[in-house]
């Protein structure tokens, strides 16, 4: 028996991340100089002693499977429990695509049942934050709740873009409103739930038979529970939390890393060993900064060779920046080569792209940062040629 089993919904396609999710599932997108987005959630599990975890994918993405592997990086290579990848095809003869978040859990009831848990933690793999799920569980037990939903205060003017929870003063939830026109509260659901499994199990089974349901936690399960007077509480989270659903927010979250006052994970991890971020470690030599290199306000990973100017940027492993290149407010994914005299500002360069000598690419201050890969770099380059 396990007290609490985690279910991580990692099926998001991340369409709004454009090119970044062309070849990659959203949770597998590189983030923070050496991590992938899902590492932050997996590390939360590791730091919260959640050692039995199902990772639900809409298909079985090979790079996510290989990244997670047997879960060793997060100490989840356990004899009993550990991490299990659950694609819709993991049935006797395959299964249906998951039709909603609740359906994804419903289709894996047997997986959860085998551990006979008292509680189930439901999380998703596409946010950057550090949370100890044991604190949520402790509140869940203390309030004797059927469900506990983590919430974050959002600015009142943005509240109508979120799923908003209306609560009493003791944080007991009496209403859930999806994107309310006139919000009564600014407590937004973070999509992080702890349920008492026995209760959730009943609601999932009932919901599955409802042809009108969209099988979604926010839209269907939570309202159904509220309708039957179950005890639902909000857990108020006040630390750093960022959705990286768009190019702009992905870039902003990266820039937050460089701001030591933002409370973003890498600074916190440095001060607090219980909040470290783990990933599947590669084995590259340390970085080499040449005689002409100049690096300020940046994160640089192993295997890099720097001979140019790098400021306010994040460089993944194995990046080469040649002389007289100037990289500003940019993100260079693994294996990128930056030629001489290249100038980049507010640009994201995808894995293994070679940026030829002399290319200059800027995104203006209020525009969305540009994403470069080997294909579109040529267009930028020829445009520039045309301009000269």
């Amino acid at each position: 028996m396990k007290e609490c089993v985690g279910m991580l919904l990692a099926g998001g396609e991340g369409k709004r991340l454009g090119l970044l999710t062309n070849e990659n599932a959203k949770p597998a997108v590189p983030f923070g100089g050496k991590y992938r987005i899902i590492d932050f959630t997996l590390s939360n599990c590791a730091n919260s002693s959640i050692q039995t975890l199902g990772v639900l994918t809409q298909y079985s993405p090979i790079n996510l499977n290989q990244h997670i592997g047997n879960g060793k990086a997060w100490d989840m290579d356990r004899r009993n429990g550990g991490v299990t990848m659950l694609s819709p095809a993991t049935g006797k003869h395959g299964g249906d695509w998951y039709s909603g978040t609740a359906d994804a859990i419903y289709q894996n009831i047997h997986f959860i049942d085998q551990y006979d848990p008292k509680y189930v933690l439901i999380i998703s793999g596409d946010h950057i934050y550090q949370m100890n799920y044991q604190s949520v569980l402790a509140q869940h037990k203390a309030t004797n709740a059927d469900a506990t939903i983590s919430v974050i205060e959002v600015p009142w003017e943005d509240a109508s873009r979120f799923g908003i929870l209306n609560t009493t003063e003791t944080l007991e939830i009496y209403e859930f409103e999806e994107k309310p026109a006139n919000p009564q509260s600014n407590l937004a659901s973070m999509g992080i739930y702890i349920f008492t499994w026995e209760t959730l199990r009943e609601f999932l089974i009932e919901d599955a038979t409802d042809p009108d349901s969209s099988h979604d936690f926010g839209k269907d399960i939570i309202p159904a529970m509220l309708g039957q007077d179950k005890r639902l509480f909000a857990y108020l989270f006040t630390e750093y939390w960022k959705d990286v659903g768009t190019i702009q927010s992905y870039w902003e979250a990266t820039m937050d890393l460089l701001d030591e006052d933002s409370g973003s994970p890498l600074s916190v991890a440095r001060e607090d060993r219980s909040k470290q971020i783990y990933t599947n470690e590669a084995n590259f030599p340390p970085q080499y900064i040449g005689g002409t290199g100049r690096v300020t306000n940046s994160f640089i990973n192993t295997g890099c060779f720097i001979y140019g100017d790098v400021s306010n940027s994040v460089l993944f492993r194995n990046v080469l920046v040649k002389q007289h290149a100037s990289i500003h407010q940019s993100i260079l994914h693994p294996g990128v080569t930056i030629g001489e005299n290249v100038v980049l500002e507010r640009v994201i360069v995808m894995e293994n792209t070679e940026v030829p000598d002399g290319v200059q690419v800027y995104a203006t201050k209020h525009a969305e940062p540009l994403v470069l890969n080997q294909e579109n770099i040529r267009e930028h380059f020829s445009e520039m040629e045309g301009m000269n």
């Binding site: 030599p285 340390p286 900064i289 040449g290 690096v295 300020t296 994160f299 640089i300 990973n301 994040v314």
Partner: protein, 367 residues
């Protein structure tokens, strides 16, 4: 099928490391920003396809045990073969063996059990990124009893003193293993030997009360054996003194040397979960090797920072080696200095050694 197993023999390694080996053996000395000396011997073995490696350890090996763990970082966490740490075992009342022979004697079963029929023996102080497959092919083609690997050195330096020199005749035959200090063909301490023969030599050495397998069993029996030489002439270093340690670290700050030593296949080391290096607003770093987990806000020139070092603003580090998790406060000036792990240098300190004799601070000091 012919297979090699690896044996890293740390017994009887000559070394003068003073402060750096108070609490660790020489194989565990940190090197080049994120490695330990033993990583080179071990990675060369696994990069050559060996699936079984034994390590003879006698003293101060706790930090080595911690570093090697299950062997996972070198892909040696195997059910069959894999990594074996063999400490000595002094409890056999019938044991008459001495020196490194006692390791072979006490671990005879281990050698008999494995699948390999050749053994590549190495120490930890010859540093290179090499593949022993070619030497093994020559060993098999010539059907040699023993193939010793030597390297010609440009300049004979004090660290070479401890090593035998190889005199090579026709067909790569070894005609002399000497202490001739003028001979630049320095034995690397690495040799390949037929396993059955190795065990025979062990028996001979024990029977005749010998103490050193290579010197007594191979060098002194040279004319009884078919010993061949294999020349390695790639980038390398011999590290067995503070001076050679310092010089060889500094040499790596030349890009060409760095790239030679850290070409693919990479040298592997224990993984850590340090974040990427954080450069802050006042950072000014040149000609340096910086490992993950560092936070740099000062000036770093011609230096090596190991994992997790912090350099505060208005501090300068020149021609120095700063090991894991050292903390350098503001307004510090360090030149020609080696700081062992966890040293904390207080605000305003100035420490200057000479380029011949760097100033060394032992681990965990506050200065």
């Amino acid at each position: 099928m012919d297979r090699m197993m690896g044996l890293i023999n740390l017994d009887q390694e000559y070394h003068v490391f003073n402060e750096l080996t108070y609490f660790r053996n020489n194989a565990s000395i940190p090197f080049a920003g994120r490695y330990r000396l033993i990583d080179f011997a071990l990675s060369n073995m696994t990069n050559s396809g060996m699936e079984e490696v034994a390590v003879f350890v006698r003293h101060k090996y706790r930090s080595l045990l911690d570093h090697l763990g299950s062997g996972e970082s070198w892909d040696l966490d195997r059910r069959h073969g894999g990594l074996f740490i063999l400490p000595p075992d002094w409890n056999d009342p019938s044991d008459r063996s001495r020196g490194d022979l006692s390791f072979f004697h006490n671990n005879r079963d281990y050698f008999n059990r494995g699948k390999a029929n050749h053994v590549l023996v190495s120490g930890s102080q010859f540093i290179a990124n090499t593949d022993y497959k070619e030497a093994f092919s020559q060993h098999l083609e010539t059907d040699a009893d023993v193939t010793v690997i030597y390297t010609p050195v440009d300049e004979i330096r004090p660290e070479h003193q401890a090593y035998f020199r190889i005199e090579e005749g026709e067909d790569a035959r070894v005609i002399g293993i000497t202490n001739d200090e003028q001979n630049p063909n320095v034995f690397t301490g690495v040799y390949i030997i037929k396993k059955d023969l190795l065990m025979e030599i062990v028996n001979y050495c024990i029977a005749y009360h010998k103490e050193n397998l290579f010197a007594d069993g191979i060098k002194d029996q040279l004319h009884e054996l078919d010993v061949r030489a294999y020349k390695y002439d790639g980038y390398h270093a011999f590290i067995n003194t503070i001076e050679s340690f310092y010089r060889e670290n500094m040499k790596l700050l030349t890009e060409e040397n760095f790239i030679n030593l850290f070409a693919k296949p990479f040298i592997r080391t224990k993984a850590s979960s340090n974040p990427p290096v954080k450069y802050q607003a006042q950072a000014l770093v040149n000609h340096s090797i910086i490992a993950n987990g560092c936070i740099v806000n000062g000036q770093v020139e011609n230096s090596i920072l190991f994992r997790g070092v912090e350099v505060s603003d208005h501090s300068t580090i020149k021609n120095s080696i700063i090991m894991q998790r050292c903390k350098i406060e503001e307004d510090v000036y360090l030149e020609n200095v080696i700081l062992d792990k966890d040293v904390h240098v207080k605000k305003g300190q100035r420490i200057i050694g000479t380029s011949d004799k760097p100033y060394v601070v032992a681990k965990r000091q506050i200065v």
